[in-house]
């Protein structure tokens, strides 16, 4: 299942890559995922109970309006609205728990395409290496392919166990930067391209669930003296409806709108 939810967004994203427009991709994915989530909600929720809970809430709302001269009735209805809301949230919780798992995988995968842009040619970027111990900091070197060059001396931060290089690419493509220390070498992929691409922010020595959010590369060995190799890819922002959006916020709004439309069309109680 994990594999499916990792593969599905990758397939979707690569399939829609021809659009060459991250915004169009966000919109289309929002609609598709909005639809999928509504259908998933339908199959994982107690539709009858949700319908009843919603009707009860509506009834109490109407009671507040209908019996507004009866203060005690209004207060009681308000109390029932709060209780009813709790009941409704409880009913939504089970499908929510089920949806949260595939949704997490999908969003993380999509974030690698939509959350960050690849490095541009001739645009300086940082390669940051985090070592396991402070002693290793001065024993780390960066080995680059010919297409990449170091544009400034390395900055060593022993207090944070970090070494940072500023690098520039003179050609487009996917390259490996190698970090060498204590006779071992560790590679990290760097993507240089003006187009949308799958981005891995970091290569890490960490458990799976921690790597899940920021790395699509294999883990560094457990005994590696290097804890992480990071590349500071620029964050993407989206111009939509005369505003600048983070993709996840835009996705939230658009998938909600799509979900509300589809639930009405399909007659699904949410």
């Amino acid at each position: 299942m994990t594999q499916t939810f990792q593969t599905l967004p990758h397939t979707l994203a690569t399939g829609l890559m021809f659009l060459n427009s991250p915004l169009a991709l966000v919109i289309i994915l929002s609609v598709i995922i909005g639809l999928l989530m509504v259908i998933l909600f339908y199959y994982t929720s107690d539709q009858d109970a949700i319908a009843v809970a919603k009707d009860q809430l509506k009834a109490q709302l109407l009671a507040v309006r209908l019996f507004q001269d009866q203060l005690a009735v209004v207060v009681r209805a308000y109390g029932r609205i709060i209780l009813g809301t709790g009941r409704y949230i409880k009913l939504a919780f089970k499908p929510l728990l089920i949806i949260i798992i595939p949704m997490t995988f999908m969003l993380v995968q999509l974030d690698w395409y939509l959350g960050y842009a690849p490095i541009l040619q001739d645009q300086p970027f940082l390669v940051k290496v985090k070592t396991a111990t402070s002693e290793t900091v001065n024993d780390v070197s960066l080995q680059l392919p010919p297409e990449l060059t170091i544009s400034a001396p390395a900055v060593h931060v022993p207090s944070d166990n970090e070494v940072v290089w500023r690098v520039v690419a003179n050609k487009q493509g996917a390259f490996d930067v190698n970090v060498a220390t204590a006779g071992q070498t560790f590679a990290k992929k760097v993507v240089v391209s003006p187009e949308m691409n799958r981005i891995s922010l970091s290569r890490m020595r960490a458990p799976y669930w921690e790597r899940l959010f920021s790395s699509s590369e294999p883990a560094l060995p457990d005994n590696s003296p290097i804890k992480a190799i990071d590349v500071n890819y620029p964050e993407r922002s989206y111009q939509f409806a005369w505003m600048e959006w983070n993709w996840i916020v835009l996705f939230f709004v658009l998938s909600l709108v799509a979900g509300f439309i589809f639930k009405s069309v399909l007659g699904i109680e949410i």
Binding site: K54, I81, Y88, N246
Partner: protein
């Protein structure tokens, strides 16, 4: 083994990931998709709207209170009670109630009788529900509220129309070829005149909850909430048209109230349809809802598929209320609800469908005030019967439903009404709460045959096999009253009223037949009996006729289209008819079939008396107008047995069928009438009585009985 372990690992992984996401949220990943968004957004929206509503209600309450004080409406300043609860039980009979009290069946009514009040309540002329309840609510005689029967007659064509409301198409229509596009809503006009007493209470700032009081359709605006009762039509605009879908071949038509629809084989299953209202766009075309039936002869069930709904019924089972949407040819639609009943499965298949009620959640016609009240009740309790005559007596009469199926339907509606009543009691801690239950009327109409020793409609049922349906009905009502008594305090007036009592209906009187035999009605040449609604009657030689339940009309020149009786001769003719009909005996038994004939100008007074019949016929105990006479049919026989399930009635001499009055208060007046209820309530709330009232307010004997009656309730 490996595979199982792999699945288990993945589940564990998924769980770990989910927990990790929840425990270590990264800002950009905190969003869990539309599902969470919907839940949060909907809940927040609900709370937000509720908060706004509540704040509005709370903040404006002092202003509204102040406004009432400034306008001199210190609503409860002179009120004897903070709340009045009126429970109406249509047709509850004082003699039966007293008999069952004596037999120890009704402990709560017995308590009210001993510590409060029990009286016979004089009813109206004629003792028919729409007439009596109109008098109940307006405090006036029919001459002032204009309701004399369910039906009134059109003097231009001698045809009947519903006396309580007129429903017409929209004012403007656009005709395009064969299509007629309505521009606007249907026009509904209430025919009942007079002002219900809850309007006066509302004006004084006293809140009222009024549930299913007859003749409240269309609902009128006032300060309170109201759900309309008897006279609300079904979606076809009729007073209830059931549908019997069957594979049995028959060309017979139901006498009234129903249509027969064929079930046809369709591959392995069957299909049929529910007839709906006429298409508002294509004239003369009926809208329909198709449904499929898949019988399972092994399980003795059938799966029914109607639009998006699918359900399985056993033989003898009802479905829940099923929403249906009739679509016209130009995208217009009408929403309704109906219940399906699987009558038989083999060798023939039969499905009964209730009349399609107006959907209270999406009312196409206004059935409550405000409109949102019916929606509120629908959201709170689910769909419920909205048709005025919701218990399908016709289907039992026509033997489409059996006794048990009818009772299940009637008590289903009764339970819904109980829920509405108790909600209204909770929502009306001060003011008026009035609710009318129809089950008493319908069940007595249909099951009196088992109460009589020798009813023609029950002669094939041995006495020891006759169910005690009416006893059970009264016990059920008593239990409900007990439940209400437990919920009210000493500062609440409780009135239990009925609009009329009940008597057996064993013999039919074909009054048109008598008029024909005695030369008052003439038929066209070569005809010895007429069809419905006076087809074949020769009006040029007819002096008097009857239609409806108690009214007798003269064929007056200048009033009726083909009138021949001069106005100056009318009184003499009335006297002649009175003299001949009063005391008319049934030759079979020697019993008096007609115990009184009353001139309407003697029993009514008011501006609408011209719409009244000329005479009212009061049938004797055991008699009633025949089914044929009611529908304007002229027959050659005068008396005949009533062998229908509809075996009890009240449309007789009003002196024989008073209603009941129970109260938790001691009422000093010995003689009480239904016309007195409105003035009594206004007086007890300290309001001045309008001068046009015909009733008089009762006097309470003392207040101490209240506590005794309400605090000690039998269970």
């Amino acid at each position: 083994m490996r595979s199982t372990r792999s699945i288990s690992d993945r589940r564990l992984l998924a769980l770990v990931v989910a927990v990790a996401v929840l425990l270590f949220p990264v800002p950009s990943h905190a969003y869990a998709g539309p599902g969470a968004g919907f839940a949060v957004l909907s809940s927040f929206w609900t709370l937000f709207v509720a908060f706004l509503y509540s704040m509005y209600a709370l903040l404006t309450w002092p202003l509204r209170y102040l406004w009432r004080v400034i306008r001199g409406r210190n609503a409860y300043g002179k009120a004897r009670f903070k709340r009045a609860v009126i429970l109406g039980f249509d047709g509850m009979d004082p003699e039966l109630a007293d008999r069952f009290i004596g037999e120890g069946l009704l402990p709560n009514l017995a308590k009210l009788k001993s510590t409060g009040t029990f009286r016979k309540l004089r009813t109206t002329y004629p003792p028919i529900s729409p007439v009596a309840w109109s008098t109940f609510m307006t405090g006036v005689n029919p001459g002032k509220h204009n309701i004399y029967d369910f039906l009134a007659r059109d003097t231009s064509n001698y045809l009947p129309f519903l006396s309580s409301a007129e429903i017409k198409g929209p004012k403007r229509e656009l005709k395009i070829g064969k299509y007629v596009i309505p521009l606007g809503k249907a026009q509904i006009k209430g025919m009942r005149k007079g002002t219900p007493f809850w309007h006066w209470l509302g004006e004084a700032g006293i809140f009222c909850s009024v549930i299913r009081v007859p003749v409240t359709f269309p609902p009128e605006k006032f300060s309170g909430v109201l759900l309309s009762g008897m006279c609300v039509p079904d979606l076809k605009g009729s007073q209830g048209t059931f549908c019997f879908c069957t594979t049995r071949a028959s060309n017979d038509k139901f006498r009234e109230g129903g249509v027969r629809v064929p079930i046809e084989r369709n591959g392995k299953g069957y299909h049929s349809y529910v007839p709906g209202p006429d298409d508002p766009v294509a004239a003369g075309k009926e809208m329909r809802i198709d449904f499929a039936i898949h019988p399972d002869l092994v399980q003795k069930t059938a799966k029914i598929e109607v639009e998006d709904e699918s359900f399985t019924l056993k033989v003898g089972d009802y479905s829940d209320w099923i929403p249906v949407k009739f679509k016209s040819s130009m995208g217009l639609s009408a929403r309704g609800i109906c219940r399906f009943y699987l009558k038989e499965l083999e060798p023939e298949l039969g499905v009964y469908v209730t009349p399609v009620n107006i959907d209270p959640g999406y009312p196409d016609l206004p059935i409550s005030h405000p409109v949102t009240y019916s929606i509120y009740l629908s959201k709170l309790f689910g769909p419920y019967a909205t048709l005025g005559l919701a218990e399908d007596t016709w289907a039992l009469n026509e033997e489409v439903l059996d006794d048990n199926a009818f009772l299940a339907q009637a008590y289903g509606n009764h339970e819904d009404r109980e829920k509405m009543l108790f909600d209204a009691l909770e929502k009306t801690p001060k003011g008026l709460c009035a609710c009318v239950f129809d089950t008493t009327d319908r069940v007595q109409h249909m099951f009196w045959r088992y109460l009589d020793d020798d009813h023609p409609a029950a002669r094939n049922v041995p006495r020891d096999k006759r169910p005690q349906v009416i006893q059970e009905l009264y016990k059920r009502v008593d239990a409900l009253i007990g439940k209400v008594m437990r919920q009210i305090d000493d500062d609440t007036l409780l009135l239990i009223v009925s609009d009329h009592g009940f008597k057996s209906f064993q013999r039919c009187v074909n009054l048109n037949g008598w008029l024909y035999n005695n030369g008052y009605i003439a038929l066209k040449e070569g005809v010895s009996e007429s069809r419905d609604w006076f087809e074949d009657v020769d009006w040029s030689r007819t002096r008097a006729y009857t239609m409806g339940l108690n009214g007798l009309y003269l064929n007056i020149k200048g009033r009726e289209r083909y009138g021949i009786v001069d106005e100056k001769d009318a009184d003499a003719l009335k006297e002649e008819l009175k003299a001949k009909l009063d005391g008319l005996k049934d030759p079979a038994s020697g019993s008096v079939g007609i115990t009184g004939v009353f001139a309407c100008d003697a029993v009514y007074a008011g501006p609408y008396i011209d719409n009244a019949p000329d005479l009212l016929v009061g049938y004797g105990d055991g008699f009633r107008a025949s089914w044929d006479s009611v529908t304007g049919r002229v027959t050659s026989t005068i008396f005949e047995d009533n062998i229908k399930a509809w075996s009890g009635d009240h449309c007789i001499d009003p002196r024989l069928v008073p209603g009941v009055l129970f109260s938790n208060q001691k009422i000093a007046d010995e003689k009480t009438a239904i016309v007195d209820v409105a003035p009594t309530i206004l007086k007890l709330f300290g309001l001045r009585l309008p001068s046009h009232f015909d009733g008089k307010a009762w006097t309470l004997a003392n207040a101490s009985a209240t506590a005794q009656a309400t605090t000690s309730v039998a269970t």
